[in-house]
């Protein structure tokens, strides 16, 4: 087997050094009643070419988004990534390193994390950010429990414009704790009143910007109401490219900003792995979950970085830790950071403008189709449309014509018949004018 270096001679010599007669003898503590013997019904080892054949055949059963126009979003976006990005993150010194617990020989990863933390703090408008969480949904859940720890309150409100997966993961994480979570009904027309719900017993309100249905809402008044009541405003961002063009959540008063970094980090990969972003204000630092890299000096007085404030974490604090997270999403955070560095201020803001402009052209084309109604008036690169016909059937029809037209809201809200005709549509810099024209033409046919 090509991954195993020991030869039979090696094994014999090593057993002699150990003083054991066979490898099986080393396993003598395993209970006989549970030995696998021949009961594992799986194929034996395969050559590289055979594995490639089998997996390529499986991959070929999928329609990939490069095969035709696609307009899918809902927290997972298809963006172009520069060629140098994938090359850099595949360098073995990044790819095959462990968590940087030995700082003397991990300065590369540590400096990259420090730069990542700085970039995330800047784009969210917050003071500090951590080294990453698993994904946006789990980061959102961690934000709610952190708000509860800081405020010493146990009630949270989740806006109806929050991504339903973020809502569900938060509900799951809080289910077995002493917390009351009020998840509001889906809000495709942005009419929910959050300010009116803020009360003195509340730990936090969670909103999303841009919202799940695409709306760009100004939450400054909500932030003021939360702060007057001693509660946190948690803002989720599922499309960080938006932060190249819209006001950072930190500037409108968010206390915690969480998000999903996939759209900046690389392929959609069927939704995972992603990278959770987590930023907050400095005064809440010690209640923040996740790893942190910090600056210091070595014995020669040279600048360097270490993992710091570890006493918040499970390997020291055990059952009193701020979270149980250990392995997070280091490599995807690196990819996010490399892309952000490649773009820089000019590239990042231009990319955001291009996304918005592409989405506006799509919106203008779709609005001209009879029966189509755009729900948000202000949006970034994604919006909900009402079709007047069941969206799932329309999507199937367009898929048969080679177009991935968006995501039916019913996929998330099967128990809300009033959302059956709502379609969620996204456009990015990967969509061309001809993609948009083809989509509009086929949609017009499907609705006729």
């Amino acid at each position: 087997m090509r991954y195993l270096p020991l030869s039979e001679t090696n094994r014999r010599d090593m057993l002699a050094a150990i003083g054991a007669g066979s490898v099986d003898e080393l396993f003598r503590d395993l209970p006989k009643a549970a030995l696998a013997k021949a009961r594992i019904d799986l194929p034996n080892s395969a050559s590289e070419i055979e594995v490639e054949r089998a997996l390529s055949a499986m991959a070929a059963k999928n329609r990939n988004c490069g095969q035709g126009p696609s307009f899918l979003g809902c927290g997972n976006y298809r963006h172009h990534t520069p060629a140098s990005l994938d090359y850099l993150i595949q360098r073995g010194e990044f790819l095959t390193a462990y968590t940087p617990y030995q700082p003397e020989i991990s300065q590369g990863t540590l400096q990259a994390i420090f730069e990542f933390q700085s970039q995330v703090a800047l784009i969210t408008g917050m003071e500090v950010a951590n080294a990453s969480m698993y994904d946006g949904a789990t980061a959102c859940a961690e934000a709610v429990t952190m708000a509860a720890r800081v405020t010493k309150r146990n009630k949270a409100i989740l806006s109806g414009n929050l991504h339903p997966h973020y809502r569900d993961v938060t509900l799951t994480n809080c289910k077995f704790l002493d917390m009351q979570i009020e998840a509001l009904a889906p809000d495709p027309t942005a009419i929910e009143d959050l300010v009116g719900r803020v009360g003195p017993d509340l730990a936090c309100v969670v909103v999303q910007t841009p919202g799940f249905f695409g709306h760009l809402n100004d939450y400054s008044n909500l932030a003021k109401a939360c702060h007057a009541a001693g509660a946190f405003l948690v803002v989720c961002v599922t499309e960080p490219v938006a932060l190249g063009l819209i006001t950072p959540p930190g500037h409108i008063g968010a206390d915690i900003v969480v998000g999903e970094g996939q759209s900046m980090a690389g392929p959609m990969s069927f939704g995972g792995p992603g990278v959770g972003l987590f930023a907050t204000r400095e005064k809440f630092l010690r209640q923040m979950p996740g790893r942190l890299a910090g600056e210091t000096t070595d014995e020669n007085g040279r600048r360097g970085w270490v993992l710091t404030l570890s006493t918040r974490e499970q390997h020291i604090r055990r059952e009193k830790a701020t979270s149980n997270i250990c392995t997070n999403s280091g490599l995807i955070a690196l990819a996010f950071s490399v892309h952000m560095t490649l773009l820089g201020e000019a590239g990042f803001t231009n990319l955001a403008r291009l996304n918005h402009a592409t989405a506006v052209s799509l919106a203008e084309k779709l609005e001209q189709i009879k029966g189509v109604k755009l729900l948000p008036s202000a949006f970034f690169n994604e919006f909900a449309v009402k079709l007047g016909k069941p969206a799932e059937a329309v999507v199937e029809k367009l898929a048969a014509r080679g177009i991935l037209a968006g995501v039916p809201a019913a996929r998330f809200y099967p128990t809300y018949p009033e959302l059956a005709d709502v379609l969620l549509v996204a456009a990015t810099e990967t969509n061309t004018e001809s993609d948009i024209d083809a989509f509009a033409a086929r949609l017009k046919e499907a609705l006729a």
Binding site: R286, S310, T311, I316, R317, K320
Partner: protein
């Protein structure tokens, strides 16, 4: 009359009238190493004997500081949050953690005196 007493969790208590000053011992600070963070209780907080009162952290360890006796906090040492190294430098002086009004001064007298604590330390290291 003031007299210093000790707990098995390596806190010291110095009683003066009804007001006790509480900190961690020289032994405790030496075991923790460089202290990087201290959280002291706010005035007014009610404490039970053996209840969690403060937090002290080094780079690699975090410990709770327990209240040696029942009572109510009158003051937390405001110096410590910004200068946690004070605990390393002067644990049984400027590095005190909090002052409290004790519910029953006799509770303090019941704790270990210097000789008993020294003996306890000798057993720990034996």
């Amino acid at each position: 009359m003031s007299q210093i007493r000790f707990t098995k969790d390596h806190e010291w208590v110095l009683l003066d009238g009804k007001i006790a000053t509480v900190g961690i011992t020289e032994y405790a600070q030496s075991q923790l190493g460089d202290i990087v963070f201290v959280e002291v209780p706010a005035a007014g907080k009610a404490l039970s004997a053996g209840g969690e009162a403060a937090v002290v952290e080094s780079v690699k360890a975090a410990s709770e500081v327990y209240s040696p006796v029942a009572g109510k906090v009158t003051e937390g040492n405001a110096v410590l949050p910004d200068a946690p190294e004070t605990v390393n430098q002067d644990p049984q002086g400027k590095g005190w953690f909090f002052k409290m009004e004790v519910a029953n001064p006799a509770d303090v007298a019941a704790l270990m005196d210097q000789a008993a604590y020294d003996k306890y330390l000798a057993e720990l290291n034996g």
